[in-house]
């Protein structure tokens, strides 16, 4: 006997043709799958009643694959074949992984360093895409059982899979590839904060600006979403890729160690087993303190000594005060990027298990001066939103589809003379976006221009990431500064960047589609943002110096050309004096003193005043010679 779900009025499907769709939260630590049944978003559980599937995949000696709790339990026992947190490697190449020493997996060096990385396991080489696909396969099987797909109720039309808002094109593509490998049709990739907002039904609410505060196990993300006429727009994202609930556990763990040291002077460093035991106890204490005033931590270490300490909620708040404060700094930055005041925030949504801690809720409430939304399970809210979106996308809802917009995580620009970056599309521009800017040639008779596309916030190309380089050739020979080259940057709704350059007088054009084989990691994004704030002063100096050098180079080249053409207009002494100034300026250009270089430019300008006047006279008389007065329109 079939099990039926309730449809919207007039939306009943024919038998065996139910339009089934799921939402998947493919997380770093845990993954979930949800669907809409009888109009209600529900997270699907496995046979044991677990909703969360640990994002851990173990490749077994007999060739089978184990995913979830069972794999997680064997993590320390079989680290090389048990892969956790594969999401951190999605769309990454080996050189993107900075801290390989702390990761127990055997990465495989590829001849092509930009190729996606691979891990050596007993099941052969595995890419993060394949590992994620194994997680998705497990969730898909769970969904098919729960939805009755195997019972012939209908077809699983597809899935909405969530990704962090800052995921770049390569990471999004990798996520899509993983879904395809798992045999899932991706209806859409949805930003995690947007999914959370959808779960709370903010898309049905009045228009307004909302903050999504997502403190997960190991990452913190804050996003600001603006809702206008049913359109979600990500105004800004920020975060800390190395801050999460695990850090709170670690603070308690350190506190326990201090307590042990206090009571035991001949304290020896703990072994791996004891460390894991204490970390588990610390996590349990943290969870207990969410609803209780104190937590008793009792356990026996491998050397036989007994640990028995009591942590009060007040002490816990004091211990972790710095961590809570650390989340507010990216929050402030995001607010600044979005150019918003606190009064403009209509609601705050809490996502991630770590937001259950009362001190986190309190800090968010104090900062935003309003009570955050917490009535949905913070672990499930993203998956629920994805399910609602998936349900709408397969047409089970009479309402119009939600249209979701995205932003560029970092500024996009190009290299100009002197290794400087000219930003064309600023960070946090909403997609799709197109911007154009005119550039010109630097030298007389320049017929080609090399355009380097860069991503980053810094002023110098060397400090940003190069995405692509292409050349515009066939520019007609003109004086420096006469050519008009319009460079257009365009980023489409999928986040793909294309750049075109067009010489306006001749309409010759060159074009490149930037599809990075890898993009910037979240760490790099954070790092680049941080360094741009920290080094603004140094950047300004570097920019001044580069500008002064470019300026000096341009005037030296102009004067040298003029001397070779019209050198006979001035006396030998005057010529020598000018050449001396050119020499002096060339030497100055090699120094790092922008002010001195600029002075040198002024001196050369001054030295050439008489020469310039003589040239002007000569060219006027050349133009006038051989013509009678009538033919000249004065």
């Amino acid at each position: 006997m079939a099990l039926l779900q309730i449809s919207e009025p007039g939306q009943s499907a024919a038998p065996h043709q139910h339009k089934l769709a799921i939402g998947i939260d493919l997380g770093t630590t845990n993954s979930l799958v949800a669907t809409v049944k009888s109009g209600m978003a529900t997270v699907l559980q496995d046979e044991h009643g677990h909703a969360l599937l640990p994002s851990v995949v173990r490749y077994m000696p007999d060739g089978s694959v184990v995913v979830g709790h069972e794999a997680q339990a064997q993590q320390s026992h079989d680290p090389a074949n048990t892969i956790a947190s594969a999401k951190r490697f999605m769309g990454r190449s080996l050189k993107d992984i900075a801290d390989r020493a702390h990761i127990p997996y055997s990465f495989v060096d590829s001849a092509d360093s930009s190729k996606l990385l691979q891990l050596q396991t007993r099941a052969g080489l595995k890419t993060p895409v394949e590992i994620s696909a194994d997680i998705l396969k497990t969730l898909k099987a769970r969904a098919e059982k729960s939805l009755g797909v195997d019972g012939g109720r209908g077809e699983l039309l597809g899935a909405v899979i969530t990704v962090p808002a800052y995921f770049d094109d390569a990471q999004r593509q990798a996520t899509k590839d993983a879904a395809r490998l798992a045999g899932l049709n991706v209806l859409r990739l949805l930003n995690e904060p947007t999914a959370a907002a959808v779960a709370y039904g903010l898309d049905n609410a009045a228009e307004g600006t909302f903050v999504i505060y997502d403190l997960g196990g190991g990452t913190f993300d804050v996003s600001i979403l603006k809702l206008t006429k049913g359109v979600f727009e990500v105004l800004a994202t920020n975060g800390d890729s190395a801050l999460g609930g695990d850090d709170f556990d670690h603070r308690i763990y350190c506190w326990i160690l201090d307590k042990i040291r206090e009571s035991n002077s001949d304290f020896t460093p703990l072994g791996e087993q004891d460390t894991r035991l204490l970390l588990t106890k610390a996590r349990q204490a943290k969870e207990w303190l969410t609803d209780n005033h104190e937590a008793q931590i009792v356990c026996r270490l491998s050397n036989g000594s007994l640990v028995d300490v009591t942590l009060s909620a007040t002490q816990f708040v004091e211990l972790t005060q710095q961590l809570v404060l650390k989340t507010l700094s990216p929050t402030r930055k995001a607010m600044r990027d979005a150019n918003l005041t606190l009064e403009e925030i209509k609601g705050v949504v809490l996502v991630g298990g770590a937001t259950r801690m009362p001190q986190v809720r309190q800090a968010v409430e104090d900062y935003f001066k309003q009570t955050p939304l917490t009535n949905l399970d913070p672990d499930k809210v993203v998956a629920l939103g994805a399910a609602i979106q998936a349900n709408a996308l397969v047409g089970n809802r009479s309402d119009n589809d939600l249209l979701l917009l995205d932003v560029t995580p970092l500024s996009l620009g190009l290299e100009t003379m002197g290794g400087l970056v000219e930003k064309i599309i600023p960070r946090n521009s909403t997609l799709p976006v197109a911007r154009a800017q005119d550039f010109t040639t630097y030298k007389n008779g320049q017929t080609a221009m090399s355009i380097q596309v860069v991503q980053g916030e810094r002023e110098l190309v060397a400090d940003c990431r190069s995405l692509a380089r292409f050349e515009l050739r066939g520019i007609p020979a003109m004086a420096a500064g006469a050519a008009r080259i319009r460079v257009t940057f365009q980023v489409d709704a999928d986040g793909l960047l294309s750049v075109s350059a067009r010489e306006q007088t001749t309409s010759i054009e060159a074009h490149v589609v930037v599809k990075p084989s890898y993009g910037l990691s979240e760490d790099e994004i954070t790092q680049m943002l941080k360094s741009s704030f920290g080094s603004a002063e140094a950047d300004k100096k570097a920019r001044m110096l580069a500008e002064a050098r470019v300026n000096a180079g341009a005037i030296i080249s102009a004067v040298t050309i003029a001397l070779s053409h019209d050198g006979d207009l001035i006396t030998a002494e005057e010529k020598l004096a000018i050449e001396a100034e050119i020499g002096a300026l060339q030497t100055l250009s090699l120094s790092d003193d922008a002010v001195a270089i600029n002075k040198g430019v002024d001196k050369l300008n001054h030295a050439t005043e008489a020469f310039a006047a003589a040239r002007m006279n000569a060219s006027v008389s050349r133009a006038l010679s051989g013509k009678n007065l009538d033919s000249i329109n004065l």
């Binding site: 099990l3 309730i6 449809s7 024919a14 699907l44």
Partner: protein
């Protein structure tokens, strides 16, 4: 005769209606499609039609149009769980034969 809900089914319907935020009840019906001739439909109700019959069971309004009522009168709607799957089940005394899955039937 009448259409009834089991207590479990009624609790679920109430929950789903509350979650949906609107709707006056549950519509049961049949459509002439499917591998065995007819198929059940189960929908939320926002508007009543003039010819509809309304039953009430465990506090939930059950609405049926006259054409469907002929085929499903006496039905008890249950909510049950089979493995990981759960949903509503029609216990219809009029059914002579149904397809393997029970989604469509003949009378």
């Amino acid at each position: 005769m009448a259409i009834t809900l089991t207590q479990t089914a009624a609790d679920r319907v109430e929950k789903f209606l509350a979650n949906r935020g609107k709707g006056i009840g549950l519509r049961l019906g049949v459509k002439t499609t499917g591998c065995s001739g007819m198929a059940y439909t189960l929908e939320f109700v926002d508007e009543l039609n003039a010819e509809d019959t309304t039953f009430e069971s465990h506090g939930v309004k059950v609405i049926v149009d006259p054409k469907s009522l002929v085929y499903i009168d006496g039905t008890e709607l249950d909510f049950s769980k089979e493995g990981l799957n759960e949903g509503f089940k029609f216990n219809n005394p009029n059914v002579k034969d149904e397809c393997g899955c029970g989604e469509s039937f003949t009378v």
